[in-house]
Symmetry: D2
């Protein structure tokens, strides 16, 4: 998962950089691996700062001051599937034609094919493994075909329409054409989110695209509208907004995992409050728990695994009428586990980041609530911590159904073999993670928990649960190929090559 932003100010003498910087901090939960901003200043000159690391580490005061210009785009990166060389920071840039910069969130499923096309047909050198570089060059090539000195909205819509025909996968993108304006793009299935808003000021309206509404809200934007699946939105310097849905007839299937885990709870995505959806998941899960225990219900306390599951767990406890306690204390000076590379350190890191409060566990039957169970290693360690703290019985409830298949649309999931629920039923998972019982949300309940807040969305991307890939091109062969790449990648992750700095993507590291 990644986070993206694009901003265009009405006042061309103002600086887009501070708000873009702020936006990346607000999107930091979507990617802590790298960050970057590019702005377009006077005469269309571009300025950039990007690098590996957290937003606060990548950008220093002095560097931000150099990012002049009233237009810009930004990105935070979370390493995604298929990009074996995980070290390139976005945005990316091509100078031909026009000077285009580009950042995206998502993943392509036909990257290999595009790579050949760009080499053989478009004669464009691709210097990284990033899908962003592919998308950017496809777009650039499509625009180049116009042969025009200056493109107009029509040209751009055409180029993006072609891009949608060429590229398959989940992708939400922002692009900037030097001296022209910014563009928001969302894939035909709307798998990855993108929202826009505007902010009135004396000079007119500022416009911003971002992955989550919380960014727009925090920066004082209003009139939020989701970019629609298959839609592109162009905002020119001068404040002209053009919107067009370029692909129709495709099923809209937003990624349900945004609602379960990725998005901030104070965001609203495709019209659905993440917060409400999670409350709903807690309620539905409560029913499942009731059914699962029946008369044998002996839970003494509901304890969330911080932080994501807190909302659902609180609602679940109310519905079950069982006391809710924050039995785990989080050491906030240790990073998020999901991001740590390698299994071994992961185990250790759970203990480093969570501390079980004996008072809440001792002699009790506890129901731990988490958003999901992926590898199972974290859950297993947490359950062990609960037992070490004196719990009698440890039950484990997951707001998401069993994850049994990889994600190919931009979430960095492990291979099938590494997924604890792959090939295991609830009971077997319970055994594997040493829980007295595991209760999974049912998929239909999950979908309903989200969908009830916007019934217009008929379907979600739920491929990690049901192996149903909406782009239609993901088969056993593709997955095997992907898993091969990933295991190679994990071998070479610390090698010099994977840390190498591609050329387009050279960054200015602070320090």
């Amino acid at each position: 998962m990644c986070g993206i932003s694009a901003l265009i100010l009405a006042d061309q003498s103002a600086s887009a950089c501070p708000d873009l910087f702020e936006s990346l901090g607000l999107l930091q939960h979507r990617g802590q691996d790298a960050a970057g901003i590019v702005t377009s200043g006077p005469k269309g000159r571009l300025y950039q700062c990007k690098g590996n690391g957290m937003v606060n580490d990548v950008f220093e005061q002095l560097q931000l001051a150099r990012l002049v210009g009233s237009i810009g785009i930004g990105h935070v990166r979370y390493p995604t599937a298929g990009s074996s060389s995980t070290s390139e920071a976005q945005p990316f840039y091509v100078n031909s034609p026009y000077g285009i910069t580009f950042a995206h969130n998502g993943n392509l499923t036909n990257a290999d094919e595009l790579r050949v096309y760009l080499d053989k047909i478009a004669h464009r050198h691709i210097n990284t493994d990033s899908d962003s570089e592919l998308l950017l060059n496809i777009l650039a090539n499509n625009l180049q075909k116009t042969g025009k000195f200056r493109v107009n909205e029509e040209d751009i819509f055409t180029a993006i329409k072609d891009l949608h025909q060429q590229c398959r996968g989940g992708y939400a993108c922002v692009a900037m054409i030097a001296g022209y304006g910014i563009i928001g793009i969302r894939d035909p299935h709307g798998i990855r989110p993108l929202i826009m808003g505007r902010r009135k000021n004396p000079a007119g309206f500022d416009y911003m695209f971002s992955s989550e509404s919380v960014v727009l809200e925090s920066l004082g934007f209003t009139d939020f509208e989701d970019v629609k699946p298959g839609e592109a939105v162009i905002v020119t310097q001068g404040g002209n907004v053009s919107r067009r849905v370029l692909v129709t007839g495709k099923e809209a299937t937003p990624c349900i995992f945004e609602f379960v885990y990725f998005a901030r709870q104070d965001s609203i995505m495709d019209g659905i409050s993440i917060y409400k959806a999670r409350l709903s998941m807690g309620e539905a899960l409560a029913e499942k728990v009731k059914k699962s225990f029946g008369d044998a219900m002996d839970i003494n306390v509901v304890i969330p695994v911080p932080d994501t599951s807190r909302v659902a767990a609180l609602q679940l406890s109310r519905r079950l009428n069982i006391v809710y306690r924050e039995g785990f204390n989080k050491n906030r000076y240790v990073g998020r586990t999901f991001i740590m590379p390698g299994q071994q350190t992961r185990r250790k890191n759970v203990r480093r980041k969570l501390n079980a409060m004996a008072l809440e566990f001792h002699g009790k039957n506890v129901l731990l609530v988490d958003d999901s169970i992926v590898r199972g290693t974290t859950s297993k360690e947490i359950i062990q911590m609960a037992r070490d703290a004196g719990a009698k019985k440890v039950y484990f409830a997951s707001c998401a159904p069993p994850i049994r298949y990889p994600n190919v649309y931009g979430i960095d999931m492990p291979t099938r073999q590494e997924l604890v629920a792959h090939g295991r039923n609830e009971k077997q998972v319970a055994e594997e993670i040493n829980a007295d019982k595991v209760i999974y949300q049912d998929l239909k309940d999950l979908v309903e928990s989200v969908r009830r807040f916007n019934p217009l969305i008929e379907k979600f991307d739920t491929s990690v649960f049901d192996n149903c890939y909406v782009t239609g091109d993901v088969d056993e062969k593709y997955l095997s190929h992907l898993e091969g790449e990933r295991s190679e990648e994990s071998n070479s992750r610390l090698s010099i090559d994977s840390d190498c700095v591609g050329l387009y993507n050279n960054y200015q590291q602070n320090k």
Copy 2:
């Protein structure tokens, strides 16, 4: 002035980086402002490290290790005329078509025209003020027109031939096409130098281009040949060498200032030993001194202004039969004056870098010998130091004739108003710098001192002395425009903008 190198190894599993790094250290005297290396590794992937500063500061062990691949190019930068934004380090890169990287030494005289062409006709975004970016994009555009999947030598020669017709000025260039090979290019007048050599090893021949022969010699290359004026040389991965003179009928006019000041004395350039040329200059200057003093010769000691003038001064002292003494001691931990920005610090820096030894000055009539007099401020300060050290009379001899006009082919000279000899005769210069007498080399003697070692070269670029610009496009209007830019530039040199990092040119700073 800048320094450039390109290297292609016969053994494709070997690393070009160590030799490129060494080559930039050996070219450091040609530019201490920035440095960069790009290599092409497996599958044509490009790796780069560049940044502002000295070679030893820009490249660190770890970063060098990441520059994999058996082909590469490198650059050291000296800020040149017309590039108001002096912060971009070379090599430059475009990904379309093919992935081309490029570095050059020199200056274009029709940059403004090319800039318009690239925008309006080629639709290529230019993000810096560097001529290199222009040259690279002209080349890229010419290659793109072929529309071919893979270009061949013929295509490249054609593209460069076109480039020569489009670009005017002095330029020696190295380029690398990812996965293909390296190219050496020299402008039709051969104003800027470029030499090539080869090195036998078990896998075949390695080939290298460099600004100076001392690089090739130090790295064990042999069979040196200058790239001819208007010639392009292509060396492909696989070791195929193609040479072609693409422009004929133009007068070859190598820059004479290389021989006077810029090149290392142990280099051989266009067949001429710099060292021998400087000995010769000393001899000729001795004759001029004799003539100038006539019977009134009262010089007690000849003292060189270190370091460049030492060779000429020693020979001059022998010819005059006057004792030679190293009366100035150099503090080698202070940088070269020529490079320091701003007049005020310059004055102070002379005193910081040189120390006059009273013993050699006290009570004597001294003849100071320097390679040239530019602004006159350094000379004036040195003369004052000699007087402070007790000299009775201080004469000042310059191996070069009076510098009265700007250099537009890559040497960073001040504007005419800042040149002490502009509008002044010898006597007036002597007054201005407070010398008892100033003796300038005659231009014909300077030319003859160099030319005698290679009579095939009929002419040199001597524009700074005689206002004669070989490209034919440098007139009063051009110079005025240039000088306007430069004074603007000097005002803004420390501004944020000039330090800004252009996009293509983002560098990875060490630490």
Copy 3:
């Protein structure tokens, strides 16, 4: 407030550094301003790394590897009252006598007097404004008086006993004598906390001192015992433990603010679980709320101000039987407000770090629960956020009573004029922060909420609430003097001087 640790391993060939590093991460909430570790290696040689910044920024892998030795002490710093020069990182060091390193948490109230003594009588140069340097030099001077080649436990106890007579204030300290062992010291009133534990391993017992039990617990230590007020504990290399209460007859008065705000909820301090105490505070506060509202109770929802007040708020909501909601979402990539210097940015930072979820506020009467109200600016901003999110009425409950007086024992409180409750009653505070009602905990209820878990503690330091300073030397004159220093300090906080690196305290910054 600061955090301190000291560790001595049974296995002298093992390295104390990893656990010390981990301990500082676990104490990071007690100080995010600077961090440092000193270890004692073979032959008593000392190794150190310290610097300004967060633990993860100050220490890098390579530097940690250099901190050899099986004994060491560590420190995280929070700028405390009276240290106008806030830039010196601890531990501190003196080489005469014996080589002593030292770190402390707290504040002295007779620093000026000690400063004169050290200059005039002890002839010891004090190079910083830190109380730690004073305490260390007092200790060193007392030890030096023994005139012994090697001191023994008796000498050390005597020296510390003298120190207690010389120094006044609140201080918990760890010291290390090179090649000898570590020492834990707690002031006669036990105002600042210090706990010790041991860990069995094949070589014997490891011993550790730390500010909080959570450190010991996380690192696998057991048999926790608080260092008693006025007690010193010496652990020598070899594992000999000597404990002695050196001052008797003084009232033990642990700082109650540790329980309200500073300590981690999973710590146990002076036998009292912070977590339980906070639950208790929530219950007592619920009663106060009930009483305050009487029949006019119209609260719809209880919302904690994250993170500290969550425990109390949850319990309060249960007691009131009003629904509990996490209405504020925290952006965890923005730092803790309390630490930010200057009022203006503070206001802005509240909005940056918290986001109000309209759903939970809209149309409701909300009771916000926070641990305390200090300046009131944060509370005011939060209340405004609640109103902006649509709250009808906003009530504000504080787990702590009104803070009306400065803290002089180590907590960085503002001057009296800056405290919103200074000279204001509840109603006036409510007006000032724009709350519909403010409910403060009663002091006796707060004390009882804590004390009930360890009735042996008869009294706490509650000076910020009742102006009752247990050391008996804090009068109007002292406070005025202090406030003068602080306002001076705030003026110069960003000056060069305050950032200057004192000599003893030079640090090795990473990067």
Copy 4:
């Protein structure tokens, strides 16, 4: 060898730092390993910046600005014998008594004895292997014995007199007592140099101590006087100067190697111009060459090995009436060989730093002139370069006699086994370094070349040539011990330990 400086300004509101910084740059040739400055500001507070590296790398603008105060001392370090841990930068500091900082140039021969004394008798912890820390603590301990609140000149002279009785070796030192003044100290034999001068300005006289006169001269000081052997000079804030020779009856024996190699040629040391002494060495060596060749003289050209030998070689060529040529060109962007650790890289570095100009070697019999021959490896490589460049015969003349014994007074010489002349006569050395002939200066000629300019100095330290150690405590046992340490040291030079940062000596590294 190291370089030291101390400065006290008449105007107490002025800053000593800029001149100290400049002084270290001028002393950089004496040590390129580390650098440091400590200043004493208002209220005697001390400020420091030190670190490993060259002066320009250690000090950054911002850091220099923080070094406030009108008094200060500085140091550049060259790793000296016996300090196995070469990583500690000077000045050193002790806070008890008074706050004393200290820097020195030299080496003690009874360090082990002092180390025991400081531990057992003075109870002072020594945390590094540096002799400076020993000297400082001896001084501090002697001052502490006075028990005075403020010491006076008499106390200081007594303390230094005692120090001279306790310490043996060669040492020139500068010390600063916080808020009091600076002190210059020179060992009883005057082995290491120290000179002082004063500079008039409106506020009175500034005073400076430095290792070399060139520093004083460059900074505008006059009235130079060498600190005499065994003398101490105290300059107090207020400008009172007290001088006293504390030890008499010892033979003054300045180190002759300063004149041969270390000192800058524009310095005057103990009344002797280094430049004149080197001219003299050239003359004497010319006579030796004449005698050595007799009638068989077939030298065609005299070529110096740059840079030190240039002066002597030029004079030698005049005396022999053989043409002088600069046949080696130096690549000034590669460091001085002498400092490079390890034999292997040394060999390579000669080739990297020097380039032989074939023109001056081809077909000629050349006489290479160098200041000395130490290991012989550099000489051997240079001779080979001359041969590779086409020389017929290569003769090698050394301004210094054969070096056969280690230096124990501060010059980092290799062990006896590594010295090419140890156990070899001229002919054998010639064979070893592959010269057609080696001509060494005679020791008496060397001494006379220096002594003739100040006949008051009856003797020099010439121990490396004649095994005669003036301190009387250097015997076979000592040398064996020393050599044992050094070979250990060379093994561990790159180990973590040797890079470790001692505690007193923690430095603030630039980024």
